[in-house]
Structure formats: structure tokens, C-alpha cells
């Protein structure tokens, strides 16, 4: 069992699972080659969690594009993607609390960012501790969902979300309406870039649970 904690999110991983809790580099931050370019001015970035039963490659998309192809029939991949906290009170995120118990019936082969034969996905939008999230889970095989989903639930049961620690700049009111930052559909994510990065005001560089730049 290993514990991962960063950006106000904690998760305990059973043997055979691995993961990463990260945040894309914000505007103006120094980045490494592995991170890619920082966000453009005026964009904010938030926490992303990837945990899986497969080796996670470097540089996968926010919704794990580049990793799902490697899922075997008994594998699973969990993505917890945070949207801008300003979206937390939007209707899409009205469900409260991280779903810790998924049902095999929550999964569908059509609920994938990119349809891959045999795989299935599930996604849940919710708010927790004043933060807005999408939980996106991919199974390597829809046919094995009854066997694999309990393993997913074991991991989800250990996941906790802490309240965002507002930075000084985040206390300032934003100039953009949060409604435009939330996804407008409940279909599977169709892009690996954060929807929040297009309309968020420059002052809303909220650092969930930490006040330092990206430090876990």
C-alpha cells in the first residue's frame, strides 16, 4: 500500500496500482520538457489524479489519452480531474461528494473519451469541499466490469479531497462568469485540455490546498 498526496487530494494505492497527482504548469511557471508548455496568460490549472493498474506513461493527456490503449482486460484507470472552483456551484457539478462506490451498471462502452473496442467508461461530475471535479474511470474490458469495478471502488474508498486553500489572488472576484468554464455536456470528455483554461480570469489561479506553486 502506498499513499499519494498532493494538491489537497490523497489516495492510498493497493499493490499493483500506481499513480500521480499533479497540476499542469501555470502561466509564467518554469516547466520541464516533460511537462510541456505552461498555460497561457489568463489560464489557470488545477489538480489531476491518474491512478491505474498499468504503468502510466509520461506525458499522457489529462483524461489519460495515451495510456488507455495499454489497458489489459483486467486493468482499470481512474482519472480525477479538477475544474475551476468557480464552477463548483454550477448545475453540472450539483452532485455532492466524491463517488466512492461505482456500480458495474455505471459503465458503458460509449462513455469513453475515445472509443476503444472492448473498453468501457464511466464519468461522474460532482463538487466536494468547494471544488469541482469529474471522476472518469476506464475499464480495460466491459465484459469484466463485475470483477474489476470492486477493485476500483477499493481505491476510491481511500480517496479524500481537502478544501481548497484560497490564495490571495483567488479571493478577488473574478471577472468572468463561471458558467462558461464548465462543460456543457455530460458526454465523455472530448479534449485533453482543461475546459477551464479558456475563460478563467487571470486572478483565479487557485492552488488547491497549497499556496506554493505546485508543491505537494
Amino acid at each position: 500500500m502506498t499513499e499519494l498526496a498532493a494538491h489537497g487530494i490523497e489516495v492510498t494505492l493497493p499493490a499493483g496500482w500506481e499513480g500521480r497527482v499533479f497540476k499542469r504548469p501555470g502561466a509564467g511557471e518554469v516547466t520541464s520538457a516533460a511537462e510541456g508548455a505552461p498555460a497561457a496568460a489568463g489560464e489557470s490549472t488545477n489538480a489531476v489524479v491518474h491512478v491505474a493498474t498499468i504503468p502510466l506513461p509520461i506525458g499522457v493527456g489529462d483524461f489519460a489519452s495515451g495510456a488507455v490503449d495499454d489497458l489489459g482486460r483486467d486493468d482499470a484507470l481512474i482519472v480525477l480531474f479538477e475544474y475551476d472552483p468557480a464552477s463548483a456551484d454550477q448545475p453540472l457539478f450539483q452532485a455532492s461528494g466524491l463517488p466512492k462506490r461505482l456500480s458495474p451498471d455505471d459503465f458503458s462502452p460509449t462513455m469513453l473519451q475515445r472509443t476503444i473496442r472492448g473498453q468501457a467508461g464511466s464519468q461522474k461530475f460532482f463538487h466536494d469541499q468547494g471544488r469541482a471535479f469529474c471522476l472518469y474511470v476506464v475499464l480495460g474490458a466491459f465484459a469484466n466490469r463485475r470483477r474489476v469495478v470492486p477493485q476500483v471502488n477499493d481505491v476510491l474508498s481511500t480517496m479524500t479531497i481537502a478544501a481548497a486553500t484560497p490564495s490571495a489572488s483567488a479571493i478577488e472576484p473574478t471577472t468572468s462568469a463561471p458558467s462558461t468554464t464548465a462543460p456543457t455536456t455530460t458526454s465523455a470528455p472530448t479534449t485533453t485540455t482543461e475546459p477551464t483554461t479558456t475563460t478563467t480570469a487571470p486572478t483565479t489561479t487557485t492552488a488547491p490546498a497549497t499556496t506554493t506553486t505546485g508543491a505537494p
Partner: protein
């Protein structure tokens, strides 16, 4: 007076003996470190120790298996300060942990190969993971600069302790299925590491008669891996790195027509 002179001579002789002993001990330590691939030469330019001309000197060394040691998952932070956990125990594939630092000259040779040498072929198809010490003991900026694009790099002093790493660079090969350390050693060239790994795999009975990983342990088909490696290489050669916006958008010629255009 004669007694005093004699006494001083004896003391001088004893001191000379002591200094000679210390110098010899120091030389033996340096020689041992050199054999393990650690260059303590202050005149070294920091670019590695493989520039000597002449007969090749094998500086790799297998460490006798230490039965008390067990494998452990690698948990730490990335050079970008993110939290990361690498599954080693229970992993379906072999894992090769490369314990490297930013300071040792020999390590730079490996950083260079892993970062700039194209796809790294690891015997047994093992997953390569670079492990440095914690940010409190390492230069994060240096590790960020040295870390390869496509190989996980974890900063974890706990992993160094768990695997009882005696020196850098040091390599540990773990069989995830059994959780056993099946090989470990020091080297200062990637070719030497590959040789050590093949020996370790053979000793562990994981190779078939042709020297390939046994079919029941093989992971992704080699053709897939080669195709991916070729695509990665071509993209990198074109200056397209992970996260490049062009990977996530259609070329303008393929964009759907707008209402105005039809």
C-alpha cells in the same frame, strides 16, 4: 641530548608510517570506487569517465544478492513537485530502477543516453525508471534538466534506502510478479548494464533458449512497441514533444466548415 634525538627520530618514523598507511588506505578506497564507476578525480570535467583511450576497462560490478532485501514500490515526487508512485511489486512487467544523481560524472552518461539517445532498449522489456534522491538532498533544477522526456523520474530517498543503494549510478532489476530483486549492480556505461541485465535474466530463468524473454512473461508485442518508439522518435525529431498543442487539434485543412464557408 642523544636520548632526545633518538626519541624524536622514533616519533618521526612512527608518523611517517602512519601517513603511509593512510595514503595506502585512501588509494584502495579510490580504486574500489573507481571499479564501481565512481569518479573521484577532482580534475574530471564531469562529463563521465568513459573517455579513456586504450583497452576497454570493465567497470561494472554485480553485487551479490542480499537475501534480506525485498523489492518496494517507488514513491516520491517528480522533478515538477508532483506526487508519484511507481508500482514495482505486483507489476506485470519487470522494472529496472536506475539510481542516479545529478552530481556524479558517471551518472551523466546515463542521463544523456536516456534523454537524448533515442528509445532505450532494456533487456527483458523491463520498464525503466530513474530514481534520484529527495529534493532535500538533490538539486531539483538539475534533475529537471537531466530527466528524460519519456522515462519516469522519481525523487525518492526512501527508495534509495529501501534498495540499500551503495553508490551511484546503480541499477536494480525487479520481477514484479514475484517481488524479487533478480539483479543489481553498478556500471558506468549503458552497454554494461544491458550485459548485467541479460545475465540476471538468464540466471533467473526468464530467458528462453534464444535469449529472448520467455513467452509467458512477454508483455506488449514487440511490433507495437517498435511502432510506438518510431512514432515517438519521428515526432521528437520534428520538434513535437508531449503536450504540444498540435497533438490535440486538427490541422486547419481538416477543420469542419464554418457556417459562413458552407
Amino acid at each position: 641530548m642523544a636520548v632526545l634525538v633518538t626519541l624524536l627520530a622514533v616519533v618521526l618514523a612512527l608518523l611517517a608510517l602512519l601517513v603511509a598507511g593512510l595514503l595506502r588506505s585512501h588509494a584502495e578506497i579510490l580504486r574500489a570506487l573507481h571499479q564501481l564507476g565512481v569518479d573521484m578525480d577532482p580534475a574530471s570535467d564531469g562529463t563521465g569517465v568513459t573517455t579513456a583511450v586504450g583497452a576497454p576497462v570493465v567497470r561494472s560490478a554485480q553485487v551479490p544478492k542480499r537475501p534480506s532485501r525485498t523489492a518496494a514500490d517507488v514513491v516520491g515526487t517528480t522533478p515538477e513537485h508532483d506526487a508519484i508512485s511507481i508500482a514495482v511489486i505486483g507489476a506485470k512487467q519487470l522494472t529496472l530502477l536506475a539510481f542516479l544523481s545529478s552530481g556524479c560524472g558517471s551518472c551523466h552518461a546515463f542521463w544523456d543516453v536516456f534523454r537524448d539517445g533515442g528509445p532505450v532498449e532494456v533487456p527483458g522489456g523491463a520498464r525503466l525508471v530513474c530514481v534520484s534522491k529527495d529534493p532535500s538532498e538533490e538539486s531539483v533544477a538539475s534533475i529537471r534538466r537531466l530527466a528524460p522526456l519519456d522515462i519516469p523520474t522519481v525523487m525518492s530517498s526512501a527508495a534509495w534506502a529501501a534498495y540499500d543503494v551503495p553508490v551511484a549510478p546503480f541499477f536494480v532489476l525487479v520481477d514484479g510478479a514475484s517481488g524479487d530483486v533478480i539483479g543489481e549492480g553498478a556500471a558506468n556505461e549503458w552497454g554494461q548494464v544491458q550485459s548485467l541485465l541479460r545475465t540476471a535474466l538468464d540466471d533467473a530463468g526468464l530467458l528462453d533458449r534464444k535469449g529472448n524473454l520467455r513467452a509467458d512473461r512477454a508483455g506488449k508485442p514487440r511490433a507495437d512497441a517498435q511502432r510506438e518508439a518510431r512514432a515517438d522518435r519521428d515526432l521528437l525529431a520534428a520538434g513535437i514533444k508531449p503536450g504540444d498543442p498540435s497533438l490535440y487539434s486538427l490541422p486547419s485543412a481538416e477543420l469542419p466548415p464554418t457556417a459562413e464557408s458552407g
